[in-house]
């Protein structure tokens, strides 16, 4: 029996959430407070500073704008979810048919609505002061302003707010969803980190680009053009495109999290595309002489550098995703059950994000290796040769794989805890204690001054103390046996550990998720039959 429910013809964007925030934030007193404050400040500035008032007005307006947008705005954006969860109203929203867009729009712009109401007039005053009067009071700056400059200044000032608030919201949201991977009861947004991250973004754009724009477009004058994949763009337009690109992915990230919380079906496709496109975008910047200077090692082989950076960024994103995904062993069980049941949709819905971005890593690594072989592995690049870069890429991948396996073993061994302590203990042990003990013993026994062997010779043997680093860190030793063999051995033993753990702790015998796949269809059929049989 399908129920027909009343739905409105309202816009997809109509947000009850925005309306609620407007009710909460705009009392008559608060509405009047802003114009009264601005008029008082205007009166004080014009009276106190006399003829110099436009310059002071500009400076104060921009400062207050910065304080409102950078501090208060990010505080509100980082806390809006926390308030919802703390007051136990989040479940009402999760069960509502509100669209993710309406929810995001309402929360993000609703929570910061009063800040925009207070700050946009300040921005208007600053522009007024700049355009009409400022030139006469700042000798280094010609009077008046170019319309394009005014546009850029206003654009970046507003972007400083929107981007920062969106980052605060995204980080807070991601923190909350990340915690529910481990325990569905644990819906606590990460607000302090989120606030600091958003504030960093807001302040970065505000301070570097927006604030001093009237002084002669300093940032854009210093860097008039940007080279990206060998193509040259004016830096203003490239900056706008960059901001638009990142804003798109920030909002896509929020949108995806909102979809998940509102119980839409989600797959890691968004993460997959985000990682690929952001890595591609960033890798393209190596063609810019400001990024990869002529003196840098890979400056003469920019295609190679581009490939290498793409690989490193996708690997870093994958590693970051594993930290959140590994603890949720239930998700793996559901994924494998779906795989056994041949339910591809469930399989992709339960696929951890790291697996999706690992596809990029593998593709990038394969292309990188093929490209290296085609170029000739002995070809020199500065002090290095291509073999060493290949070694570094493979070594990074294998060490990441080792850590991924260890994180999953920890999740299997201590499923009832967050594993924070165990993870920290592992990293300290693997990356600090063991290498420190091993290297100090080896160096002492061989009576070698460690500082004298840091020139990593290709002739050194596997048993040379420096080569012990191959056991503990990603490295670029030219000899693959020293670079890759140790970590391969570790991976081999870790895989044996997993087999042993599964041997000791066989899966529980109650109806497994795999078996549930088939009965699910039967139960659905039963439920439909019941509807017909129901006496009511």
């Amino acid at each position: 029996m399908k129920t027909k429910t009343a739905t409105t013809q309202e816009s997809y964007w109509f947000s009850p959430e925005l309306q609620r925030h407007l009710w909460l934030r705009f009392s008559l007193f608060r509405l009047l407070a802003v114009p009264v404050f601005i008029l008082c400040a205007l009166y004080a500035i014009t009276t106190f500073y006399g003829e110099a008032w436009p310059r002071e007005l500009y400076a104060r307006a921009i400062q207050f704008y910065g304080i409102l947008i950078v501090i208060w705005g990010n505080y509100e954006a980082a806390n809006v979810l926390r308030e919802e969860v703390r007051s136990n109203t989040w479940d009402f929203q999760r069960m509502s048919p509100m669209s993710p867009a309406a929810l995001i729009f309402g929360k993000l712009f609703g929570a910061t609505s009063y800040i925009w109401y207070a700050s946009l007039p300040l921005l208007g005053l600053a522009v007024y002061a700049w355009v009409t009067r400022l030139g006469g009071f700042a000798p280094a700056v010609p009077a008046g302003a170019d319309a394009k400059d005014v546009f850029f200044m206003v654009f970046f000032m507003i972007v400083a707010g929107v981007a920062g608030h969106a980052v605060s919201f995204l980080a807070s949201f991601d923190g909350m969803v990340g915690k529910t991977h481990y325990d569905p009861r644990n819906r606590q947004p990460r607000n302090m980190t989120a606030f600091l991250m958003g504030m960093g973004v807001s302040f970065g754009i505000y301070a570097l680009i927006g604030r001093n724009f009237y002084r002669g477009r300093g940032f854009f004058e210093k860097t008039p053009v940007v080279e990206w994949f060998g193509m040259t763009f004016p830096s203003e337009y490239f900056s706008i495109a960059t901001v638009a690109f990142f804003l798109f992915w920030i909002f896509m990230g929020i949108y995806r999290l909102a979809r998940r919380e509102l119980m839409y079906r989600t797959t890691p496709i968004c993460w997959f595309l985000a990682v690929g496109s952001i890595a591609l975008f960033m890798a393209g910047l190596v063609y810019d002489p400001q990024v990869l200077r002529q003196t840098d090692m890979l400056a003469e082989k920019k295609d190679y550098a581009c490939l290498f950076y793409f690989f490193v960024m996708t690997l870093a994103a994958t590693y970051y995703a594993v930290l959140g995904d590994a603890a949720d062993t239930r998700r793996y069980r559901r994924m494998f059950a779906a795989l056994r049941g041949g339910n591809w949709r469930h399989f992709f819905e339960n696929m951890p994000q790291w697996m999706a971005s690992a596809v990029w890593v593998l593709v990038a690594l394969a292309v990188f290796i093929l490209y290296s072989v085609r170029e000739g592995v002995e070809q020199d690049i500065g002090l290095f040769n291509i073999r060493m870069f290949m070694s570094l890429a493979l070594s990074l991948t294998l060490f990441a794989l080792r850590d991924i396996i260890v994180l999953h073993i920890l999740a299997l061994l201590v499923p009832d805890r967050k594993q924070t302590f165990e993870r920290v203990a592992y990293y300290v042990l693997a990356y600090f204690l063991l290498p420190a003990i091993h290297l100090s013993v080896a160096v002492k026994n061989m009576e070698i001054n460690p500082t004298s062997v840091l020139g990593f010779s290709q002739q050194t043997t596997l048993f040379h103390p420096v080569m012990y680093a191959g056991w503990y860190y990603p490295n670029f030793f030219a000899m693959f046996s020293a670079s890759l063999l140790p970590v391969l051995v570790q991976i081999f033993y870790l895989l044996i550990c997993i087999v042993v753990i599964f041997g000791i702790r066989p899966p529980q015998k109650e109806p497994a998720a795999a078996a549930a796949e088939k009965p699910r269809k039967q139960a659905a059929a039963d439920a439909r039959d019941d509807e017909w049989d129901s006496p009511a």
């Binding site: 136990n88 069960m95 048919p97 239930r330 499923p415 109650e510 497994a512 039963d526 129901s534």
Partner: protein
């Protein structure tokens, strides 16, 4: 209407629901009872799709909760045990906001708000802020929010908690009215006496398992009742006449009042009264109390050997 099959749910390191299977008929009012920590709230959260089970299936009105939770939400109103309100909004704003969120047609939002406010008896508080409401009124507003989109199924987790006696009676009446409208309800509560007023079924959860699913009117026919008879000039002869009745078990004698246990339903009770009057027993007061839900729960508790910590 609600069909749960083989439901298993884990919190990290702990299985909370074990192979839970039951069906709830349309138009019924089911009491969900069990000791603290039995898994009642988790079960309700799984039913409404807020938590995702490890395995098993839940179908509501033929829709798989895991497959399409949003379609299920349109049929369900849910009030959690620790629900919150937007304290800085008025009652009217709270209801209006929820009506918009639930996509009640724009033209009928105001009317729906008024209807629901009257239904949950909060229409005299519409312009008060939620923050100043008493516990009972907050609970009523919570139920109003769950009802705003006129769901077919209403799931209430501890709705009477914190309510004063008058508010509890009104909640009872509200549940009966909702049942009369054809809604299906699941009510989790610790207060069996109140559940008894309006429940048609009882689902006992113990240690994450369904200990018993009882259809109360069926149980009632076999339930033990307490019968109080006041007999003028009570004597041994009278007591002997009562002891001859196989359906009666004498429990207590106080003055002229005899308390007996009576096994059987309303038919047995009626036949007994007729027979006793015909035999000339000078009865001047006859009172039977059927604690069917409580009896049923105690029966389950005794048969499963657990405590009755509701």
């Amino acid at each position: 209407m609600i069909n749960v099959a083989g439901l298993n749910f884990d919190y990290p390191g702990k299985r909370v629901l074990h192979d839970v299977t039951f069906r709830i008929a349309e138009g019924s009012v089911t009491a969900l009872v069990g000791p603290n920590g039995a898994g009642k709230t988790t079960l309700l959260r799984c039913i409404v799709g807020l938590d995702r089970p490890h395995s098993g299936s839940i179908h509501i009105g033929g829709v798989d909760v895991e497959e399409d939770p949003r379609a299920v939400h349109r049929q369900i109103g849910y009030l959690s045990d620790f629900f919150g309100l937007y304290n800085d909004l008025t009652v009217r704003q709270c209801l209006t906001y929820m009506a918009w969120s639930q996509k009640v047609p724009q033209g009928s939002v105001a009317a729906r708000v008024d209807t629901v406010a009257k239904e949950v008896l909060i229409d005299n508080m519409l312009d008060r802020k939620a923050a100043v409401l008493s516990r009972g009124y907050r609970q009523r507003l919570g139920i109003g929010l769950a009802l705003i989109h006129d769901p077919k199924i209403l799931i209430l987790d501890e709705p009477a908690s914190g309510m004063d006696p008058e508010a509890r009676i009104q909640l009872s009446r509200l549940v009966r009215r909702l049942r009369a409208q054809g809604k299906t309800l699941i009510v989790s509560s610790h207060i069996l006496n109140e559940l008894e007023d309006y429940c048609t079924d009882m689902l006992v959860i113990r240690d994450g398992r369904v200990a018993k699913h009882v259809v109360l009117h069926e149980f009632e026919t076999e339930a033990k009742r307490t019968l109080r008879l006041s007999i003028s000039g009570l004597s041994d002869k009278h007591l002997g006449m009562l002891q001859q009745r196989p359906e009666l078990v004498l429990e207590n004698i106080e003055g002229e009042t005899v308390t007996c246990g009576l096994r059987g339903g309303k038919e047995v009770q009626h036949r007994l009264l007729v027979d006793l009057l015909r035999s000339g027993l000078p009865i001047y007061d006859y009172h039977a109390v059927a604690h069917s839900l409580q009896e049923a729960y105690m029966h389950v508790a005794e048969s499963t050997g657990g405590n009755t910590g509701t």
